[in-house]
């Protein structure tokens, strides 16, 4: 009977009137902590993906295609010492985007629709905005982990010649969460999956991967297609990474543009997510 006897003593006395103040201050973290605990249930696939993904790409593109391109007259150009150095930052950003997509698509739809756990969170002092922030924060942790492992392999394959190469990591992380925030905003508006995520993968992510200056400089594309790169978080993240990892020559204003674009995308994605989370939970 201890539970019943203490019904009005323990937690209430412990937290008093400050309970909600503390929840509000740390709410984002509590949600992220919860998501990380849930991620533990698929930890094996997270680890396997993080290690095998960079290895297969680096072998195929860096060692395979890379040796072929580097041997041909003129190489890739764009100031890179090797094709691997050129493609490395793009693969890094791409890995960040992929993981961010995974963590901000189905988990968001599931939180509203399948497990309905976002409603459980909202029944506590936590609000919709904090749920959205927490989901993105947890995704960021996974993105950071993925990028760290990938960068380690890049360095191992000799694809990071500049002493500033480590700055390619924050660039990739930023491009990942900027993209993730927009996916979260979309996922939180979907009532049914209806193949939306598969469509995004085919019609957004795949073309973005191919046409964002990933495998060849964006300038090599016809002008009519270059816009795909300009609006792609992958291109902006990749270019930032190239400036860092092998000192790609680029005007300062353009480097600033990459940062502003990714920052704006993150802000927009978050603002739209806040709106839809709050509206949907208050229905």
């Amino acid at each position: 009977m201890s539970l019943e006897v203490r019904a009005h003593a323990g937690a209430a006395a412990l937290m008093g009137e400050r309970r909600s103040a503390k929840s509000i201050a740390f709410g984002t973290w509590y949600v992220a902590e919860h998501r990380l605990r849930t991620m533990r249930s698929y930890l094996t696939t997270i680890l396997m993906g993080s290690v095998f993904n960079p290895m297969i790409y680096l072998f195929a593109l860096g060692v395979g295609i890379g040796s072929y391109i580097d041997a041909s007259a003129g190489g890739i150009g764009a100031g890179a010492a090797s094709y691997l150095a050129f493609v490395g930052p793009a693969l890094l950003s791409s890995a960040a985007l992929t993981v961010a997509f995974e963590e901000s698509s189905f988990p968001v739809m599931g939180g509203f629709k399948w497990t309905r756990e976002f409603w459980a969170m909202n029944a506590t002092p936590i609000g919709g905005r904090q749920v959205a922030n927490g989901v993105l924060l947890a995704a960021t942790f996974r993105v950071v982990f993925t990028v760290l492992v990938f960068f380690f392999f890049l360095a191992l394959f000799g694809a990071t010649p500049s002493p500033w190469a480590f700055l390619a990591m924050p660039s990739a992380i930023l491009s990942g969460i900027a993209f993730g925030s927009v996916i979260m905003a979309i996922a939180s508006r979907l009532e049914e999956d209806d193949g939306w995520f598969a469509t995004i993968q085919r019609l957004v992510i795949a073309p973005m991967f191919l046409f964002s200056g990933t495998f060849f400089p964006l300038e090599r594309l016809p002008l009519g297609l270059q816009w795909i790169g300009w609006i792609s978080p992958l291109w902006h993240g990749t270019q930032l990474g190239r400036v860092a990892s092998y000192g790609m020559a680029e005007p300062l204003w353009l480097t600033a543009c990459h940062l502003v674009f990714l920052g704006a995308m993150l802000a927009l994605g978050l603002a739209l997510s806040w709106k839809s989370f709050e509206r949907r939970l208050a229905k």
């Binding site: 937690a11 412990l14 937290m15 909600s20 709410g27 029944a123 506590t124 609000g127």
Partner: protein
Amino acid sequence: MENMDGVMIRARGLTKAFGELKAVDAVDFEVSKGEAFGLLGPNGAGKSTTMRMIASVSKRSGGELSILGMDPNERGPDIRGHLGVVPQQDNLDVEINVRDNLIVYGRYFGLPLKFLKAKADELIEFAQLGEKTRVKVDDLSGGMKRRLTIARALVNEPDILLLDEPTTGLDPQARHILWDRLFRLKEAGVTLVITTHYMDEAEQLCDRLVVMDKGKIMAAGTPASLIKEYSSREVVELRFGSERNAEVAKSLEGRGDRVEVLPDRILIYTDSGEEDLARIVEGGHRPLTSLVRRSSLEDVFLRLTGRSLIE
């Protein structure tokens, strides 16, 4: 706290409209400390919408609402910190185990891990889930998930526990286990607000209840007083077969206080069921089955709305 008069919840003209539809239409009620208060009505009566407004997640369209002396429009998170919510559909995290569900949820109230670890063990015992502590929620039965949801709602030691259709979808045995747990909380003085469309649940658990239909409160009182006011002491139930019920009912007019015809049976409201039944049989009627029983909240609802609770 500001609720010095012992009133935990006060609603005046509380309204929620979705476009043209008024899901809750100017309802008034009060819930006192330690009371088990019920909202009884069929699906779509506005019970869950009322509950979501009390839970301080859904904003009201009109009227006044005060919970623990606070306005949920102004201080939603503060109020929610003092509530325990058991929603109609379970929303546990099915990918993690029983204990982690309790701990993770307690964190949302800003409670420290040290407190929560002890609390989780205590709640697991209360929910009779001792053998399932490390089991993934996905692998629990419906009744166990429900008990875990109730345990989870107690993690912050709430002042008010809100239960939306707590036993819907459970088998009879699981319902009784759940009722037993809720009784214990009631005995301990926890204020309970329960929505249900089961009259037996309402009779068992609620000290006082309101009968809702189409967004309005039709009647309010204790289960006994409602039955006394809106029904007779006993009911004779007669079945003549679905084709004949309506026809036979005409010849039974005037028996007891009132005669109701449902598609599957005839109900005669009376204070002396056995005597009336004997007279009906003497009169030459031969029902396929007959039954004399006490009046219930189901009869109250039928009287108030002309419809059954479960349709």
